[in-house]
Subunit: 218 residues, 2 copies
C-alpha cells in the first residue's frame, strides 16, 4: 500500500511541477482553497471576485464530486470557471488541474482561484502546483478542527475563519482555534471574515494582494 | 487502479461480514454516523446517549484523524468509547471496527454508535457491517450537499438535519434539502434536530427505537 501511495503521489507531483512552470511563465498567482463541505468556499470566492475583478484578470477551477452548481455561481460574476467533477474521488489532483488550465487559458498576471472538493483529509496530500493552500474553517464547525484534521492545516499558509456573523449564536473560541492552528502549522495567520456580509475582507484582500505582489515580482 | 480499489473493498467486505455476524449473534444495533467535519456528530451522540442510557446498554466507536477528544466527551457520559485514529486515512474501515469491538466487548442487546471520520466522500464506500448509515447535515452547510456529495446520501437510511436552532440566521431551505436527498436516495427520511437544545429528539429517538426493535426481533 505504501508503494502504491508513493507511486500515485510521485505521478501527481510531476503534473504539479508542470502546473508550477505554467504559473511561473505567466506570472499567475494560484491559490488552492480547502475546507469541509459547506464552510462557504464558493461564497468567499464570489465575494472575493466581485471585489477584485476590476483590478486583476481572474479565473476559477471548481472541484466537486458532482454537479456544476459552483462553476455556475462563479460564471454569474462574469469570470471564467471550469468545473471538475471528481466522481468517486475525494480531492482534485494536479493532472485534472493541468487539463483545466489548457481549457481556461488564463492570461499573464492572472489570479487563479482553485476550489478543492470539500474535504479536510484527502486534499492535504495532493500538490496542485499552487503558491499557497488557503484553509477555510467556518465558526459553526468548532475550534478543534485544526487538531482533529492536522494535515490540511499543516500545509496551509493561512486559516480563514468564515461566517463570523454567526459568532453570537454558536460556541466558538477564536483565540483557541488560532492557537490550535499554530500548533500544527507554526506561524500560520488567522483571518476573520464573513463571506456573506463582507466583514473582514479588507484584511483578506490585502493578504491576496501581498501574495500576488510577491508572485509577480519573483 | 480499479483492480486495487476492488481488492481493498473486497478485503474490507470480509471484515464487514464478520462484524455483521458479531452484531447478529449479540442482537446489537449498529449505526454508522457520517457527515462533514463540524456538523455536530459528537454533540448529537452525547445528547442521544443521555436520553437512552437508562434504557439500553450503549457503546461508542469514535473515528478521527487525530486526537481522542471525542472519545473523552463520550466517556464523560459514563458510556464506554474507543477512539480510532486513522492518521492519514479519510474513513473508518471494517477491520479497525472489528478490533475496536474486541476491546469494547459490547453486551447482548446493546446499541453501538459509530462516529466516522468527518468526510462526505470516503466513508460512503466502506461497509462497516452496520445496520444503517445516518447522514448528518448541519443547516449551516447549505441544502445542496446531497447533490454535490451524492454517494454518501445514497447509502444512508436517514438524513438528520442538525443545528436547526440556527435556522433563523442562515439561508437554508429544509424542503429543498429533503428533496435533494430523496433524489439520490429515494425514500430517505429527513429528521430535524438541534443536538444543542434537544429540539426534535422525540422523533430522532423514535427512529432509533424502531430500528432497535427491528434488529432485536430479527
Amino acid at each position: 500500500m505504501v508503494q502504491i501511495e508513493q507511486d500515485i503521489l510521485s505521478h501527481n507531483n510531476c503534473f504539479a511541477e508542470a502546473n508550477r512552470r505554467f504559473f511561473a511563465e505567466r506570472r499567475i498567482l494560484a491559490l488552492n482553497f480547502v475546507s469541509s463541505p459547506g464552510s462557504g468556499k464558493t461564497t468567499l470566492l464570489v465575494k472575493t471576485i466581485e471585489m477584485l475583478k476590476a483590478r486583476y484578470p481572474l479565473a476559477v477551477i471548481e472541484g466537486d464530486q458532482q454537479t456544476s452548481h459552483d462553476a455556475e455561481r462563479i460564471r454569474a460574476t462574469g469570470i471564467p470557471a471550469i468545473q471538475i467533477n471528481t466522481g468517486k474521488g475525494c480531492h482534485l489532483d494536479a493532472h485534472q488541474v493541468g487539463h483545466a488550465l489548457e481549457a481556461l487559458d488564463p492570461p499573464e498576471g492572472a489570479i487563479l482561484l482553485i476550489e478543492n472538493v470539500g474535504n479536510l483529509v484527502c486534499p492535504a496530500a495532493f500538490d496542485l502546483g499552487e503558491h499557497a493552500k488557503v484553509a477555510l474553517l467556518s465558526v459553526t464547525e468548532g475550534e478543534d478542527k485544526p487538531l482533529k484534521y492536522p494535515d490540511i492545516f499543516a500545509v496551509s499558509d493561512v486559516m480563514v475563519l468564515n461566517k463570523i456573523d454567526l459568532l453570537p449564536y454558536v460556541p466558538f473560541d477564536v483565540a483557541q482555534a488560532s492557537d490550535y492552528a499554530v500548533r500544527v502549522r507554526p506561524g500560520i495567520e488567522t483571518l476573520l471574515v464573513s463571506a456573506r456580509t463582507g466583514e473582514g475582507f479588507d484584511q483578506w484582500l490585502a493578504w491576496i494582494e501581498r501574495r500576488y505582489a510577491a508572485c509577480v515580482a519573483s
